[in-house]
Symmetry: C2
Subunit: 406 residues, 2 copies
C-alpha cells in the first residue's frame, strides 16, 4: 500500500509552482516555471535514489535499478506541463504516482527484477507548442525531432531554443531506450466514473482523434442596408456546419464525439455581416472505421453546404491519430490489481489523448483512471479526491509489480 | 451645377489623414487624426467665408449668412470620424458635399434668403465611444451631455477629456441652435441602387434598430472524454439562436433585417466544449410594429431555447431607436430636384442609422443616397464613382436652394 498523504503533499507542493488565483496551475511547457517544476521532481527522484536520463526532446527518465538490469524497465509516467487554465492533477498525478510507487518500494525495501522508471514527457498539452504529446510523439517516431524543435509559440520562440534555455535538452537520442511495459495513471477528465460512483477506471483503449480547421468566406457588409437575400453571411453558413458536427457525433453513440471549440469571426463588429468565420472541428471515436465514416459524412456535408450557399468553404485536417487499444496483458494487469485491492471499477474508454498512446507503439501499455470532480479538466477548478488518487496509485503499484516481478 | 472635380479633390485630400495601406481611412472620433481632419475642414469653411460655431459636444457648424439671418438656417451635414476599417466616403461625403454647395454658391455669387449651414457631428460611428451618432443624439436630446462625456474608449479615456484635449469642446449649448430644414447626402452603404442601376436614392425613411447582447452559459469540459448526452455546449445552443435571428428577419420582408455580427467563445480552445458564448443581435425594420413583433418573437424563441436546453441564457437590449420617416416636404424637395436634374432615381429606405434621424426630431429632414461599389461600406475597400458623388451633390444644392429660397 502506498502512502496517500505523501502523494497528496507532493501534488500540492508541485502545484505551488505556477499556482493561479482560482486554485489552478499555469505552468506552460518549457517556461521558467516548467523548469522549476522539472527541477523539483528531478530532486525528488534523486532523493528516492533514482538515476536521471534526459533525451534530446527533454523527456526525463528517472530509474530505479532492478536485480536484473538487462531487462527492459517497467515504466510509468505522464507530464507536468499544464494548460494555461490548468488544474493540479492533469499529468502531474501520473508522474507523482510513479514517484510514490518508488518511494513505497524503498520504504518496504522491495527489489524488483526489472528496473522501474518514472518518465515525464515534454509538452503533452500542446498549448504553447503544437503538436500535442510532443515528447512521447518524438520518442516513438510519430514525428521527427526536427519538426518538434521547429515548433514556435505565439512569440516566435522555438522548442529547440527553449529546451536549451531551461537546460533540458539532454544527450540521449529519443526512443533509444527500451521499455518492457508502460502504465499511466490519470484523472479521467470526464464524468463517467463519478456518474457511476466507481473508483478505478480500467482503460481498454483511447479514442482516435481528427482535428480540422474550417474557414467559411462570405462578404462583409453593413448589417442595416444589406437585404437578407443579397447577403453572404459567413456566420450563418458556419452555424449549419457547427450543428452538423454535433449531429454526426450523435449518429455514432456511445463513442462518437463532435466539438467546435474555437471560433473567430471577422471583422467581429456588431453592425457588420461576418465576412469570414474560422472554426475548429474535433471528431473522435474509439472505432477507426466509424471515425472515418464521421470524417466522410462531415466532408460530404461541407460539399453540400458549399453548393447550397455558394460561399467558399475550406476544410483542412490538422491532426489525426487512430484509436489506440491497449495491450491485453497490461489491461489485465490493471484489472487484476484492482480486483485484488477490492476497489469498485468499470471500463472507461479514454476520450482524451495521452502519452500512453505513443508509448503503446513501442511496448505493451495500459492506463488507470480515477474520477475527477464533475468530470471537469482543462479548467482551474479541476479537482480530485485524495482517496481516489491513493487508490489509483495502489493499482499502479500492483500492476507494475506484476510486470516487473519481485 | 456644382464642381465635381473640386468635390472629389477635397474628398481625396481629407482621406489622406488616417489613410490605410488598403486604401481606406482610420480616423477614429476625437483622436489626433480626427483633430487634423476637423482643422482641415474648418479651414476650408473659413476660406469659403463661413463663420464657425462649436458646441459642448464638439459638433461644428459652418455658417454662410443669408439675406434674412432671422430665418433658421437650412442645414446639411454628416460626420468625418470613421470606422477602424473605414472608407473615404462614409460621412465625409456628406460634409464635403455641403462645403461644395457653399463654394458653388460663392462662385455663382448666389445669395439665399435663409442662412446655409454645414455641420459635422461628433462620433457618428460609435466605434471608439458608444452610443453611436453621439453628437447629433446629444444635440436633439436623445441622451444627455453628461452621458456622452462619460463614455469611455477601451483605454479608459472619456469623451469629455478627449474633446478638451483636441480643442473641440466648444462653448455653445447643444441644441441651442435653430434649424429650418436638414438634408444629408450619404453613400447608400447597401447594394440596392447599384443593383437597380440608379444614380439617386430618395430616402423616405430610416429603419428602426434594436441591438442586444446575448450570453449563453453552459459548462466547459474536455472535448474528448465528455459524452454527447452529458454536455452543456454553449456554442451549440447559441447556433440555434443565431439561425433564428436570420429566420425572424426573413419572415418580415422586405425590410426585416437580422444579423449576428460579433461572437466571443470562451475559453475558445480546440479541445474544450465552449462554456460561454456572448454574441450581438441586430434587428431592424422600417415599421415599428413589425420591429416590435420581431423583438417579441426573438424573446419567445430564447425562452423556448432556455427551457429546452436547460442552459442559462441572458438577453439585454443595449440600443434602440424607432424607425424615422422623413418629412414629406424634404423628401419631395429631394425628389423634385432629382427630376429637374434628370437623374435616374428610386426610393431607398435607409438600413443604416444617420445623424439625420436625430436632426429630424428638431426640423423637417431628408436624405439623398448615391450608389457605392458592391454596396460595401465599413470596409477599407468602400468605393464610389465621382459622377455619382457629383450628382448627389447637385441634388443637395437644388433641394437646399428650394428650402432656403433665392
Ligand atoms: N489529455 C489531454 O487533454 N490531451 C490533449 C489532447 C486531447 O484533446 O485529447
Ligand atoms: N451609418 C452608420 O453606419 N451608422 C451606424 C449605425 C448603424 O449600424 O446603422
Amino acid at each position: 500500500q502506498i502512502n496517500g498523504d505523501r502523494l497528496w503533499a507532493s501534488l500540492m507542493e508541485l502545484a505551488r509552482i505556477g499556482a493561479t488565483e482560482k486554485g489552478g496551475v499555469k505552468r506552460l511547457a518549457l517556461t521558467d516555471l516548467d523548469k522549476q517544476g522539472r527541477d523539483l521532481v528531478v530532486g525528488w527522484g534523486k532523493e528516492a535514489g533514482m538515476s536521471i536520463t534526459i533525451d534530446q526532446i527533454g523527456n526525463v527518465f528517472m530509474r530505479r535499478d532492478g536485480t536484473n538490469n538487462a531487462l527492459p524497465p517497467v515504466m510509468t509516467g505522464s507530464h507536468i506541463d499544464t494548460q494555461p487554465t490548468g488544474g493540479k492533477f492533469d499529468g502531474n498525478y501520473g508522474v507523482l504516482a510513479g514517484l510514490e510507487v518508488v518511494r513505497t518500494l524503498n520504504d518496504l525495501k522491495i527489489k524488483t527484477e526489472a528496473p522501474i522508471e518514472v518518465a515525464f514527457w515534454t509538452n503533452e498539452e500542446g498549448s504553447r507548442f503544437v503538436p500535442v504529446m510532443m515528447g512521447s510523439g518524438v520518442f516513438c517516431g510519430a514525428f521527427s525531432l526536427e519538426t518538434a524543435y521547429a515548433a514556435k509559440d505565439v512569440d516566435g520562440k522555438t522548442v529547440g531554443e527553449e529546451l536549451e534555455r531551461i537546460g533540458y535538452k539532454g544527450p540521449q537520442v529519443p526512443g533509444d531506450h527500451p521499455i518492457g511495459a508502460y502504465f499511466e495513471t490519470h484523472i479521467e477528465q470526464g464524468p463517467v466514473l463519478e456518474d457511476a460512483d466507481k473508483v478505478i477506471g480500467v482503460v481498454p483503449a483511447v479514442m482516435g482523434l481528427s482535428w480540422y480547421d474550417c474557414v467559411v468566406t462570405g462578404m462583409e457588409a453593413h448589417a442595416g442596408p444589406t437585404p437578407m437575400g443579397l447577403r453572404k453571411d459567413a456566420l450563418q453558413v458556419s452555424t449549419r456546419i457547427m450543428q452538423e458536427v454535433v449531429a454526426i457525433a450523435n449518429r455514432y453513440p456511445p463513442y462518437g464525439r463532435g466539438t467546435v471549440g474555437m471560433v473567430q469571426v471577422f471583422p467581429n463588429s456588431r453592425n457588420v455581416i461576418p465576412g469570414e468565420v474560422k472554426f475548429s472541428i474535433d471528431l473522435r471515436n474509439v472505432n477507426d472505421e466509424l471515425l472515418n465514416t464521421m470524417h466522410e459524412e462531415m466532408l460530404a456535408f461541407i460539399d453540400k453546404t458549399r453548393s447550397e450557399s455558394g460561399l467558399k468553404i475550406s476544410i483542412e485536417r490538422v491532426s489525426y491519430y487512430p484509436p489506440c487499444p491497449f495491450h491485453p496483458e497490461c489491461v489485465d494487469a490493471v484489472r487484476s490489481a484492482t480486483a485484488k485491492l477490492g476497489y469498485s471499477t468499470m471500463d472507461v474508454v479514454s476520450g482524451a489523448g495521452h502519452d500512453a498512446i505513443y508509448a503503446a507503439r513501442l511496448a505493451p501499455a495500459g492506463m488507470i483512471f480515477v474520477p475527477c470532480k464533475d468530470g471537469i479538466s482543462h479548467n482551474e477548478i479541476e479537482d480530485a479526491k485524495a482517496e481516489h488518487l491513493e487508490a489509483g496509485c495502489n493499482v499502479l503499484l500492483h500492476a507494475m509489480l506484476e510486470r516487473a516481478r519481485l
